[in-house]
Subunit: 219 residues, 2 copies
Amino acid sequence: MNSERKISSAVINRLPRYYRYLGDLLESDITRISSKELSTKMNITASQIRQDLNNFGGFGQQGYGYNVEYLYNEIKKILGLDRVYNLIVVGGGNIGQALVNYTNFEKRGFVITAVFDVNPRLIGMTIRGVEVYDVDKMEEFVKNNKVDVAILTLPRSQASKVANDLASWGVKGMWNFSHVDLAMPDDVIVENVHLTDSLMTLLYKINEVEMEENANNEN
Amino acid sequence: MNSERKISSAVINRLPRYYRYLGDLLESDITRISSKELSTKMNITASQIRQDLNNFGGFGQQGYGYNVEYLYNEIKKILGLDRVYNLIVVGGGNIGQALVNYTNFEKRGFVITAVFDVNPRLIGMTIRGVEVYDVDKMEEFVKNNKVDVAILTLPRSQASKVANDLASWGVKGMWNFSHVDLAMPDDVIVENVHLTDSLMTLLYKINEVEMEENANNEN
């Protein structure tokens, strides 16, 4: 990441999409692409693409298009993805296990190094090579190994205490799947994935549309 | 749901939290609670709670507090959760299976009735009693069974086509875990859970904080 670049948050929010599409092109051994082709694939205008990518010095060349690998790597650096991140999973239940089994993370440099749980049936198991440890070993592990992000997939009754402990041991990022709102120090970032809330919002909106349709039919 | 009520979206967004906390109280056999006690639990002011809940006619009684069960059921109705929703999972991989195994959904009336996949090793299996069908059977299933929401946890190369098919068969809600942006008709609601984007955002913010701290240390 280059602190001298001033990039708007709207552009930043689009970068993961560019990164994703460019990664796909790389995997398909496509080495260059025009803004027009990329536009068709991504369903945004070619002019928007040129404008976005000009923010980083305009890597496109007239008559050649974009060098896919170069652009991919530049966006990777801007997003801070040009390094490996170490993650731990706290809570080895369904969602925790699914995330460990999600091989896409590793491809992106997100490496899950350990899982912690209280369940004796899980402790000592390995999930795709990642060991499940007793949660009592977590302090020692965090203090002796770099942990960038803790993925919290544990019951909400325990999530706040565990997050506080992790923050006090120096973990700066909490990816919170536990259904609880965490109060953390300013220098600790929390990103929430509240699945049940997301589903409730979806259902509420479906009902809203249905109600409007019924009201329109009555008029 | 009562279409005569005009409730601000800020209040609506807080309702799943009230619903969650009141559900916990019910499970602990707590029948009434004062706005002050609820305030302490939920970490929002008692006056905010009274204001929010007054939107629905102010169920609290001076000297008694709130009737937990009544309030729980009222919020349930407002959120449209006073009925059962039928969901199907399309894509029986890690995340799909984790969602089927997530027993909390059923408690809330979100019932997963079928899983669809292309993988012959999965087809015919049951996950916690829910059968995995060949994706070829999906059209017939959707046309013969009420399906409120399709949970899309399939590779993004297939997600758009499948979502279009489902919409054309009458499914009005897509809970989209596939890493792709779906273009749907106006009366179909999409709620995205893009896990990788969420993690990238978290990492970007962690780096931002780190950069600021480094810059401050240099000054």
